[in-house]
């Protein structure tokens, strides 16, 4: 992988009031790469993810996505259409049907016609395995189904990068696999993905790299199998012993 990185983060600092959330993070993600970020709660992993599409502001450092630096408002909207985001709590639009959830941004942002957007949405709902729910409202779906719709909604914008912020943490255990399966499929298709998750199985199966964050910095990163089985740093060992 000698290409240009598609995400380049340089010395990123972010504070919430007086507490530091990010304390100088450097990270590069290359096209087609799948990176899993793990770490204790409050370690800054979600904040880092949210800085990549500027849902959070940062005080110092730089984030360059697809050669566009995150600075002015136009840049931010340009990047957001290239970066899909999946949230822990799904955040589907409850007043719209499943199909409308997947088409609304296509029509409004991508300016696609109604039938074109509906065709794309139908194909994507097929891909995530719930075409029969197209006309239901999100409130009528299980958590796993809602999260799969959320993935389809993000994919409908044809993003170059997908960000996942603890996509399975709010799910009942029996629904986690159906969401991970969709994510695995995406990874195999070559999507660039940054995933905050403690799903070790997914990390081992799909990730090129695992990153451990703590107290706003990257502690250690390596191939998932190596990081999970033979961590070098004591902090990594301590964290892994708690979650494994």
């Amino acid at each position: 992988m000698k290409q240009q990185p598609i995400i380049h983060i340089d010395n990123l600092h972010k504070h919430f009031g007086t507490t530091a959330a990010l304390n100088g993070v450097d990270m590069s993600v290359y096209p087609g790469e799948v990176v899993v970020i793990i770490g204790p709660s409050g370690s800054g992993k979600s904040t880092l993810l949210r800085c990549i599409n500027r849902l959070e502001n940062f005080e110092a450092g730089s984030v360059i996505v697809d050669d566009i630096p995150l600075t002015t408002a136009e840049n931010i909207n340009a990047i957001r259409t290239e970066v899909g985001m999946v949230f822990q709590s799904f955040n589907l639009f409850p007043h719209l049907t499943v199909l409308e959830n997947v088409t609304v941004a296509q029509k409004v942002v991508r300016k696609r016609s109604k039938p074109e957007a509906a065709d794309i949405a139908t194909a994507l709902l097929e891909k995530v395995g719930i075409p029969e729910k197209a006309n239901d409202y999100p409130g009528q779906l299980s958590g796993g189904q809602q999260q799969r719709v959320a993935i389809a909604r993000a994919l409908a914008m044809n993003p170059k990068i997908m960000l996942f912020d603890e996509p399975t943490s709010a799910l009942d255990p029996e629904m986690i696999q159906e969401v991970l399966d969709v994510m695995l499929q995406l990874a195999h298709e070559g999507m660039t993905m940054v995933v905050v998750s403690h799903e070790m199985g997914f990390a081992r199966a799909a990730a090129d790299r695992a990153v451990l964050m703590d107290e706003g910095i990257i502690v250690e990163e390596d191939i998932p199998d190596v990081l999970f089985s033979h961590p070098k740093k004591d902090r990594t060992k301590a964290f892994l012993s708690k979650i494994l």
């Binding site: 909207n77 957001r80 409850p94 007043h95 941004a105 942002v109 409202y137 409130g139 959320a150 993000a154």
Partner: protein, 270 residues
Amino acid sequence: MQAQKELGKKPGQNVSDRRVDGWWWLVVTVIGIVILLAAAHPDPYWRIIRFVSDGVLVTVGVTSTAFILTLIIGLITALGRLSRNKLIRWLTTIYVEVARGIPLLVQLLFWYFAFPSLIQSFGHWLHYEPLERYLANPFAMAIIGLTFCYAAYMSEIYRAGIQSIPKGQNEAARSLGMSHYQAMRYIILPQAIKVILPPVGNEFISLLKDSSLVSVVSVADMTRRGREFMAANFIPVETWMMIALLYLVMTLISARVVAWIERKTQTEER
């Protein structure tokens, strides 16, 4: 799919699906009393109704015009108060605080008596003839006065409704590349409207009642026509009882319509 939709409903929702709720009997009773009085004692009751009937139209007209303007200006004000631009936020906040801090009656007197005077002085200073001879249109001033005051209250209702929508909705919309305006238009406001419908309906009823204050700035609404009738006939009990009943018919009907809209939006979808 239909079966699932039924299952998704909370128990008891079917009962509220009915179009007529249990309080329409009160509306019917009050209308019945009005008709009974007019039929049994045409003098004075039917005479009162005939005399104030043009005032009823004025009351309805002033109220609905001011209400529509209130809905529009209230929304603009609410968006201003939620704006990221400090100056816009500052200006709209001052407007809301001022408009809510002065009694409506005083505001109406200001718009009708003081505002035209100020315009005339301004015209005099500019030596601009049309402004010097500016005369207030009582209707326009009454509607401006009601709207100026009520839009401030309305903006607070909108603001509360918009803020009641979880932050994740806006984040999801923005992460899909929507602008601030698009997220408001397609995601936030459609959800907020359901939350604010009941308080907005109550504002309409308040406005209907407060529109009686425009009678002091020479708008011939129902209240003013009642005063004129009383001045000519000296029968205060009959006159004001009939005026009160007529207001009651209008407010009770409005309250039922608000309750119906509320039930309708709450049974739809989820």
